[in-house]
């Protein structure tokens, strides 16, 4: 389940594969070296409101190197049904004129590439940038563990990428931001952003989330906010003459129709978030009739969703491996046809197509159009318009700040530019070749050297581009447009709220109990006591915090 605060909980499901070893020391992440005079922090929560920040934010200047074939509505991404024949050069000049090495720290979800001096992909990008960028990449899963000490010691690189989901785990984060990172307002507010056209092309809503303590502190990484999709195997549905569900009766019927343990086939993997959404439980908080804030888990809709999910498990419609272990990697089971319906992140769609189409050309997965439990109007949970932030180290000097913003400007170049292509795939003919569809395909050298490094230094407007998979762009665009128009009304729209760390820490214990209830290890009646434990453990304090955020903003 996603976190109770609406964001995705960061589950650590694989501690033991390599063994933690004896050198691991444990301890909570605190920000011991930071000053204590700040007025807000992640320990107690923090909020910034978009509409109060108008004077700080960069003026939006659209930059569209390629016109999309399928425009995105209501926040959905634009779709490109073919790769551009000609790439546009977005930046004529090198951003770093001093030639001085740039230090940067980013997360990485992938194999470690060869380092500077042994990596021609780095060389090619650095040639365009005008200076070597020395990356300190850290495994995405442990990134928060490193952030805490690095912030506490003030030992930050010139450019530091901080994912939003790591912020709630950092105590007194706002004070660290104040103390360690440059105020970008004088360089980017209003028309000044025109000097960095790729940054000016980022959505204003995303920029609002880059404000801390009434200063523009970070370059945001825009996001459409769609947390996951419910996927089904269309090829197998066709084989069994099944249709995607339109209500919960359909879901149960599919469970009965598709599950055949003897054939090693089960209808569902984990779909508990999707069930809660379909029952119209809120993603986060909502007000009851008296105006009191209610968390998702306190609503009757959530209770119904839990009972329904338990029923799915008890009926034997969920794959036994998923029943046995909630942390099961469901991708191989879905792609191998043992699970026919499951939920996963939007990005997993194209990744599965990449893996499977070459070995199973008939493989066809599609996303289910969001539906409500009763077949009525569905809601869709929305996330924040920016999920990752890049900060510039404080005290590096005016000229250096301009150079560093130039690097971020380079990294923010959108689809259809030479810079985007270079940062994502390297040099044509060397790191990638073009398929007949125009899609880049990494060479053996590219597979070794190319890594998501520059890509994590700056966000860019999202786009659906993988047209090499027949029908994918059209299907993803249609699903996003259908989903985005159903976004649930969010009480905190336009307010970046950092959940108090105490509240964030309640997610995992509650989710553990929930998983037990689904699997019949605890009676369903224990949901009430789990909710009560959540309230007394910090949930009620969290409610007060969120209520104050709303009242401070006149809502």
């Amino acid at each position: 389940m996603t976190g109770l605060g609406g964001g995705s909980s960061n589950r650590r499901t694989f501690l033991s594969l390599l063994g933690a070893g004896t050198a691991v020391v444990t301890g909570g992440a605190t920000l011991s070296a930071c000053s204590s005079d700040g007025k807000a922090s992640s320990a107690t929560g923090h909020a910034e409101t978009e509409d109060k920040l108008a004077g700080l934010l960069p003026k939006y200047i659209s930059y569209e190197p390629v016109k999309p074939d399928l425009p995105g509505q209501n926040g959905a991404d634009p779709g490109f049904t073919k790769y551009p024949a000609q790439l546009q050069r977005a930046l004529p000049d090198k951003p770093v004129t001093s030639g001085k090495e740039v230090s940067a720290m980013t997360p990485l979800w992938g194999p470690l590439p060869p380092g500077l001096g042994k990596n021609t992909y780095f060389d090619a990008n650095n040639e365009r940038i005008g200076a070597p960028v020395r990356f300190n990449v850290v495994n995405g899963i442990e990134y928060g563990d490193k952030l805490g000490p690095v912030l506490a010691a003030g030992n930050v690189p010139e450019l530091l990428c901080i994912p939003g989901w790591e912020i709630s785990g950092q105590t007194r984060f706002s004070q660290a931001v104040d103390k360690l990172f440059e105020d970008l307002t004088p360089h980017l507010a209003g028309d000044k952003a025109a000097a960095y056209p790729m940054l000016a092309n980022l959505p204003t809503r995303a920029w609002a989330y880059g404000v801390w303590n009434s200063q523009l502190k970070a370059v945001p990484f825009p996001s459409n906010g769609l947390p996951w999709a419910l996927y089904y195997r269309k090829d197998l549905f066709t084989k069994f003459s099944a249709e995607p569900p339109k209500n919960m009766d359909d879901v149960l019927a599919l469970g009965k129709e598709l599950t055949d343990a003897k054939a090693n086939r089960w209808a569902f993997g984990s779909i508990s978030d999707e069930v809660a959404r379909a029952f119209r439980a809120p993603a986060n908080w909502r007000k009851d009739s008296s105006g009191k804030l209610l968390n998702k888990i306190e609503t009757p809709e959530f209770e119904e969703a839990v009972a329904f999910t338990r029923k799915l498990f008890q009926s034997g419609y969920v794959h036994p491996t998923v029943v046995g272990n909630s942390g099961t990697d469901q991708k191989p089971l879905f792609e191998g046809g043992q699970i026919l319906v499951y939920q996963d992140g939007p990005g997993s769609w194209a990744e599965a197509l990449q893996r499977q189409l070459s070995i199973n050309p008939s493989f066809d997965m599609q996303a289910v159009t969001p539906f409500a439990h009763d077949g009525g109007d569905a809601i869709v949970w929305g996330g924040d318009p920016a999920g990752i932030f890049t900060f510039v180290k404080k005290g590096v000097g005016e000229q250096r700040i301009k150079e560093l913003l130039g690097v971020l400007n380079y990294c923010a170049a959108p689809f259809g530019t030479e810079e985007y292509q270079l940062a994502n795939y390297g040099v044509e003919g060397k790191h990638y070749t073009k398929e007949s569809s125009g899609a880049p395909k990494l060479t053996a050298l590219g597979s070794k050297e190319v890594a998501n490094t520059y890509v994590f230094l700056g966000g860019r407007p999202e786009a659906i581009t993988q047209s090499q998979y027949p029908g994918y762009v059209q299907a993803m665009s249609a699903w996003q447009n259908e989903s985005c128009k159903r976004f649930e009304k969010n009480l905190f729209e336009g307010i970046r709220v950092e959940a108090p760390s105490k509240l964030a820490a309640l997610n995992q214990p509650f989710d553990d109990k929930l998983q037990d209830i689904f699997r019949g290890r605890r009676p369903v009646s224990e949901l009430k006591s789990a909710v009560q434990a959540w309230r007394t453990g910090g949930g009620d304090e969290g409610r007060d915090f969120y209520a104050k955020v709303l009242s401070d903003n006149g809502r």
Partner: protein
């Protein structure tokens, strides 16, 4: 061992030895036990060996085989070394292998040296402040330093980005120190006193008397340290900013992290560059990583095994 000496005496007082007087373990095995023992042993062997077999087979399986099996592969088909090729190509993993080997060798030697010195000092009754010092050591069992204080200390010592940061903060394990101290205390004082009478100083007593008698515990503690250094990845992640200095386990971990979905809000960025060559199957990579991580320990263990056995016997005789 002693039953042969005891039995004749018993026989002399109770008459000629018969089947009834034999110890149970000297009886002819029954048909059930003759059949049952190998069966039980085979089951135990399978319980241990089967997971290893599945790990190795899956690591050698193709994408199709992993997909067909829906996960772990039991029946080998379409065997390929693609996962190993992907791991070992590019020079990053091989470089990390050299670094890990060096860290393990140097770290184990250093840790053993200072653990032996500390254990010897704390095991001698007349040592200065040995009880308060022992108390401080025991305290570390209860209270860890925490990540941030450790980082601040390493940072203030100027060890960030140095290999020393992978050895010094974990150079002594309180557990290993206590184990070794207990072993040293079991060495008869008469031996040490006689050495002193012969004119040996503390260093000579340690190197000529105590150490030769303590090979078993040194082997055991050395293995604990070596496995610890070999498996450690967290401190490297914390203290090393230069990725070219990463040890093997941290590099291998990047392949596991590759298979994790990014949290929502990642702005469409996927784990891999996405449009590359068809990747080796994720599970095959994971299993190849397990093989690479475990094999060195499996290779070293047989050479140390005899010391383990000896250590157990010595401990048993000393009671």
């Amino acid at each position: 061992m002693s039953s042969h000496a005891v039995n004749p005496a018993a026989a002399a007082t109770t008459g000629p030895p018969g089947r009834a007087e034999r110890p149970v373990w000297e009886e002819e095995p029954t048909r059930i036990s003759r059949v049952g023992k190998p069966v039980v042993l085979a089951i135990v062997f399978l319980i241990i060996a089967f997971p290893l077999y599945v790990v190795v087979v899956t690591s050698l399986s193709s994408t199709e085989a992993v997909t067909r099996a829906g996960g772990l592969v039991v029946v080998p088909r379409d065997l390929t070394v693609a996962a190993y090729v992907q791991l070992l190509s590019g020079g990053v993993v091989t470089r990390a292998l050299v670094i890990s080997t060096a860290i393990t060798a140097v770290g184990t030697a250093f840790s053993l040296l200072i653990t032996m010195l500390a254990a010897y000092g704390l095991s001698r009754p007349g040592s200065l402040w040995h009880r308060p010092l022992l108390f401080v050591v025991l305290l570390t069992f209860l209270f860890g330093p925490g990540i941030i204080p450790s980082y601040l200390l390493v940072n203030s010592l100027g060890l960030i980005d140095s290999y020393g940061s992978l050895i010094l903060p974990t150079a002594i394990s309180a557990f290993n120190l206590i184990v070794m101290r207990a072993f040293f205390m079991g060495i008869p004082n008469e031996l040490i006193d006689s050495a002193r009478i012969d004119g040996a100083g503390e260093f000579a007593v340690l190197t000529r008397i105590v150490m030769p008698l303590s090979k078993a515990v040194v082997a055991v503690v050395g293995l604990f340290y070596a496995v610890g250094y070999w498996n450690a990845f967290f401190n490297a992640m914390l203290y090393l900013n230069d990725n070219t200095k990463w040890p093997l386990q941290l590099v291998l971990r990047t392949y596991i992290v590759q298979q994790q979905a990014l949290p929502s809000g990642a702005g469409g960025v996927t784990a891999s560059p996405g449009l590359g060559l068809t990747p080796a199957p994720s599970l095959a990579i994971k299993m190849a990583i397990v093989v690479l991580a475990v094999v060195p320990v499996l290779l070293v263990y047989p050479f140390i095994q005899k010391h383990f056995t000896k250590g157990v016997i010595v401990g048993a005789v000393k009671g």
